[in-house]
């Protein structure tokens, strides 16, 4: 491996945030203590759908220590509905149900008391009369005519039903010798961080500011809180220096924040809501996609796919904020890493009487990758071809970059074949196949799993105008401000909360690289939202690109100023002024030099020595627009959606106990190309964590509902999170194809591993059971169901009397 061309970028540096976490000095939302805080517990609806007839608060209010019982009508009268992404004015969403509750667990009232325990006691005493209503749970059933309506005024359960045709789809199908179709299902799971959503709001009537401490990862959080509370945007102050205990997309908490914000203003003291785990699972509104994919592909004898039709129907739950856009983001990589020439994509979002979805890691890309990879596998089986070979034949080739896909996005760079070759070499592919065959010889079912997929990164919200033409948002920013103080110390700012992504380390490394200063000497702080520059928060795998970019450009402006001051004071043209070795010198006479400290002093204290027209001090800001962003979609829905595309290739070996149906991942290899890696420890952690998350979605996690509309998986007893036993050792192979759009060639990696692990696991299990003539087309894959499938298949193949 060649040495990195960088001084600090790509070197194996410690993540500075770790220091506070290992001593338990993280500052999580529940750790923030304000005097006089009271606590909220919520009253929840037990029915999947019900009219709220009456709410009796008297007994609860009579309890000592109880201050208030808030209901939906009062809150609705005082606030605006929460923002919805689509144009669906008849589907309002509010923190507390108003007249009708639409899913089991929905919040109906909020009790405020001196302690959380007392609030829970009082919540039990709030009497609510309900009239149960008809309800619908299944997405296809909700889509069908005649279904019970979740929102009567909306007239249907359809929030979105839009079809895009990119390229000559029908012609390509007609011209292709083969076609096949299949349905796959992505079950409802989510990221389920270990920390639930927690928020404390404190209204200061003297300064007229609402202070908000929240465990949040959400673009536009401060202004959406302000909008809902009918406050000016500058009346809400969100503290960005709260540490978030994991989010991976879901910690939006907008209804929680509006609830406590209102209560604090109404009651005159700080109010805190820490979701307990039951509240979080049932009604935190943080579920993930629940999607049916119907895919049809047209392909030739060699298994090369020419065209694809995809219908994706997502059951978003009883309300929708941003979540239907999870059908739009995958348009950015709708053909995956493949040269599919034309695409018909139909995106359908329906309401049902289930918990509300939120943005889950990769915002719909992981389910879409699973669907695309299943189609590739079926094409291979159909043609009797090696599945790896079919991937190779379909993949975009290195010389084809930048590559324009039918939906209008250009992939920036990549060398997918090289990554695959590296993984195969690392894994000793022939040996892996031999190991699979040896396991089969021992009587196990065994299979090799493959998945090739992309991580669109950098984020752009053009899925908003794509799916809601009334929304013309094309701006997606991040910013950094750097200040060098009079002592010469460098301080930079981050304007968002972080959930473990190492942003402080990222910014320090980038600025250190530009300024040639040890990154650990660069202070990184988080001003509150009122003191912040525009930020869209760490979504869409964007921070390495955007925060890195903004920090880079701000540092570059600083460096340029330093050089300009030096040139002016050394009396040389700026082209001769050379930055380096702790100062600026004259290239023609290196002993003619000014040190960093001398230049800082001039900037801060010697105005008479500054070049004319120069601002004093050393404060620089860069507000950055997403590269390649800024256009609206065309009439047929084509647009550049995200700027950068990372690639991953999973290769795994799975054994399945044929009698018990229990899978075991024996070997796991992943090839990962996210361009230039700014911090290897951070990127590795992201990939490992993403794979673990993908294992959960594939094998263990599901928000299952029973027929009565009750969420069965309400606690960690039934919603199964992978422990250290369930995640095998993973070997990562790296490759770097830099992005032309970013300052160091970096791409995003926050979603890596999760994007392809479910597809790879499904691929392996299907390879294992294919000899029995069966396949699994839904996730998660449950042991007992797999066992039943295997038993039934074996029975068919060799029926025995009285087997069982």
């Amino acid at each position: 491996m060649s040495a990195t061309p960088f001084r600090f970028v790509s070197t194996d540096r410690r993540v500075r945030e770790d220091r506070r976490f290992v001593v338990g000095k993280g500052r999580f939302a529940a750790d923030v203590a304000l005097a006089g805080t009271r606590h909220v517990a919520v009253v929840t609806c037990p029915h999947p759908a019900a009219r709220i007839i009456a709410i009796d608060k008297a007994e609860a209010l009579a309890m000592p220590g109880v201050h208030y019982v808030l209901d939906g009508r009062e809150l609705a009268a005082a606030t605006q509905p929460l923002l919805a992404g689509l144009d669906t004015p008849k589907v309002p969403r509010r923190p507390l149900a108003v007249d009708v509750a639409r899913y089991s667990g929905e919040w109906v009232a909020a009790v405020v008391a001196d302690t959380r325990a007392l609030a829970e006691d009082a919540a039990e005493l709030v009497g609510v009369d309900y009239e149960p209503l008809p309800f619908v749970l299944d997405g296809e059933a909700a889509y069908a005519p005649g279904s019970p309506l979740v929102h009567a005024d909306h007239g249907s359960n359809v929030l979105l039903d839009r079809t895009f045709v990119w390229g000559e789809v029908e012609q390509d199908f007609a011209d292709s010798p083969h076609r096949l179709s299949l349905r796959v299902k992505w079950g409802r799971s989510s990221t389920v961080p270990v920390e639930t959503f927690a928020v404390m709001a404190s209204w200061d009537p003297w300064r007229e500011v609402l202070d908000v401490f929240a465990s949040v990862q959400m673009p536009r959080f401060p202004d959406q809180v302000a909008l809902a509370l009918k406050l000016p945007g500058s009346a809400v102050r969100v503290y960005n220096d709260v540490d978030v205990g994991g989010s991976y997309g879901v910690k939006r908490g907008i209804k929680h924040a509006v609830l406590v914000g209102y209560l604090s203003r109404r009651l005159g003291f700080p109010v805190r809501l820490i979701e307990d785990r039951l509240e979080n699972m049932r009604a935190g509104d943080a579920h993930g996609p629940e999607r049916n994919f119907d895919i049809e592909v047209a392909f030739d004898d060699a298994g090369v796919i020419r065209s694809m039709k995809m219908r994706a129907l997502d059951n978003v739950g009883a309300y929708a904020g941003r979540s239907p856009f999870q059908l739009g983001k995958p348009v950015s990589a709708i053909v995956g890493p493949y040269r599919i020439r034309s695409v018909q994509y139909r995106a359908i979002a329906v309401t049902s009487n289930k918990t509300v979805q939120e943005a889950v890691r990769a915002f719909g890309q992981a389910p879409t990758n699973y669907a695309i990879e299943r189609a590739l596998e079926e094409v291979a089986w159909h043609r009797g071809l090696d599945r790896l070979e079919v991937r190779r034949r379909n993949l975009i080739r290195a010389e084809q970059f930048p590559y324009l896909i039918p939906s209008g996005t250009t992939y920036d760079s990549g060398d997918y074949h090289a990554v695959i070759d590296k993984v195969l070499a690392k894994a000793d592919y022939a040996g892996l196949v031999a190991e699979r065959d040896r396991l089969r010889g021992q009587g196990l079912l065994a299979g090799i799993g493959i998945a090739a997929c992309l991580e669109p990164s950098g984020a752009n919200s053009t899925f908003e105008p794509l799916l809601n033409p009334k929304n013309e948002t094309t701006t997606y920013t991040e910013a950094c401000r750097i200040n060098v103080d009079v002592s010469g110390a460098v301080t930079a700012t981050i304007h968002t909360l972080s959930a473990g992504q190492g942003h402080e380390t990222l910014v320090g490394t980038v600025i250190g690289e530009v300024l040639e200063i040890d990154p650990d000497r660069i202070r990184v702080v988080r001003p509150d939202s009122l003191s912040s520059l525009p930020s869209q928060s760490p979504v869409g795998s964007r921070m390495a690109i955007m925060m890195g970019g903004a920090a880079f450009h701000a540092a570059q402006k600083l460096k340029d100023r330093i050089v300009a001051i030096a040139a002016h004071n050394l009396g040389i043209p700026s082209e001769r002024a050379t930055y380096g070795a702790g100062g600026v010198s004259d290239r023609a006479a290196p002993q003619s030099r000014l040190s960093w400290n001398e230049l800082v002093t001039i900037a801060h204290r010697n105005f008479h020595r500054l070049p004319p027209g120069t601002e004093p001090g050393l404060a620089f800001t860069h507000v950055m627009q997403v590269p390649t962003g800024g256009q609206l979609p065309t009439a047929d829905g084509r647009v550049q959606m995200y700027p950068c595309f990372a690639f991953e290739f999973h290769l795994i070996l799975v054994a399945v106990d044929p009698d018990l149906g229990k899978p075991e991942i024996k070997r796991y290899f992943i090839g990962h190309d996210c361009g230039t890696v700014i911090n290897p420890k951070i990127v590795r952690g992201m990939t490992m964590g993403g794979i673990a998350h993908g294992i959960g979605a594939a094998l263990y996690e599901e928000f299952a509902y029973n027929e009565e509309g009750q969420l069965i998986a309400q606690s960690f007893m039934d919603y199964l999170l992978p422990s250290s036993h369930e995640v095998p050792p993973v070997e990562i192979v790296h490759h770097v194809t830099p992005s032309p759009h970013t300052v160091f060639g970096q791409k995003g990696s926050g979603e890596s591993g999760y994007l392809g692990a479910p597809a790879a696991i499904a691929s392996a299990i299907n390879d294992a059971i294919r000899p029995l003539g069966i396949a699994v087309n839904s996730l998660p894959i449950r042991i007992a169901q797999l066992g039943d499938m295997i038993a039934a298949a074996r029975e068919k193949m060799s029926p025995r009397m009285g087997s069982g």
Binding site: A117, D659, I712, I783, A784, D788, A791
Partner: protein, 293 residues
Amino acid sequence: MKPASFEYERPAHLDEACALLSAGDDVRIIAGGQTLVPLMAMRLARPKRLIDIARIPELSFVRDEGSAIVVGATTRQCVLEHDATVRAKVPLLAKVMPFVGHAPIRARGTVGGSLANADPAAEIALAAVTLAATLVYREGDTVAECAAADFFIGPMMTALPAAGCLTAVRFPVWPEARIGVGFHEVNARRSDFAFASAAAQIALDDAGLCRRVALGVGGITPVPLRLDAVADALVGSRAEEAIIRDAVRAALSDIEPLSDLHASADYRRRAAATLAVRAITDAYRAAEGAHAG
């Protein structure tokens, strides 16, 4: 998830604890709390008064009485897991202990607590039923005993009276020299409650034939099952797979296993058979190796 309010008592002696239990309604014992506290946190259990017996010295012990090993009810699961006497004299119990929850649960959870909780898939309950253990309890001043098979009457339901307090469990010691054990379970994740499990203890004679067999299956019916018919069928054999399969199939053919979100009845029936074969096979092989001469 804060529990409803309750009063807390920590009696120093068993007599005092039993008196307190008999004294009122809505009184419950707490020992390790590893199953009770989650129920209380979810307000599914709301005792008005908790009687903490965890530190009553007379309830925590492992005693070798020759023909039986007697374990005090508040003996921590981790103590049992590492006890040399238990490993030597009641090997099946030692075998299942590492499968009970996770180490932090076993650090605090008690043997009696697990038995009184009576989860259909609980490992200790399965071992108790398989080995025909006897549970000893107090109700007020009265001491009573109950065979394990009679103690578990349904999912999370036991024959323990409302004011009763488990005090000990008596596990029979097998006199034979060549003993082996096997235990297998199937669950989604390691340490989850099992969809199905099987526990076997086998003693061989000098010729290597099964002399005494105990087999139990758990997780497939509301209470753990001891399959005596299978045990009987195996005595005198070398535990060949075909014999095991036929016997297990016959024994399970007239029970209706549980069917739920996790697994169908058919799955449980098949899994129980598979696990029983594996447990018995392991036990047989271990017993063979137990006497090198």
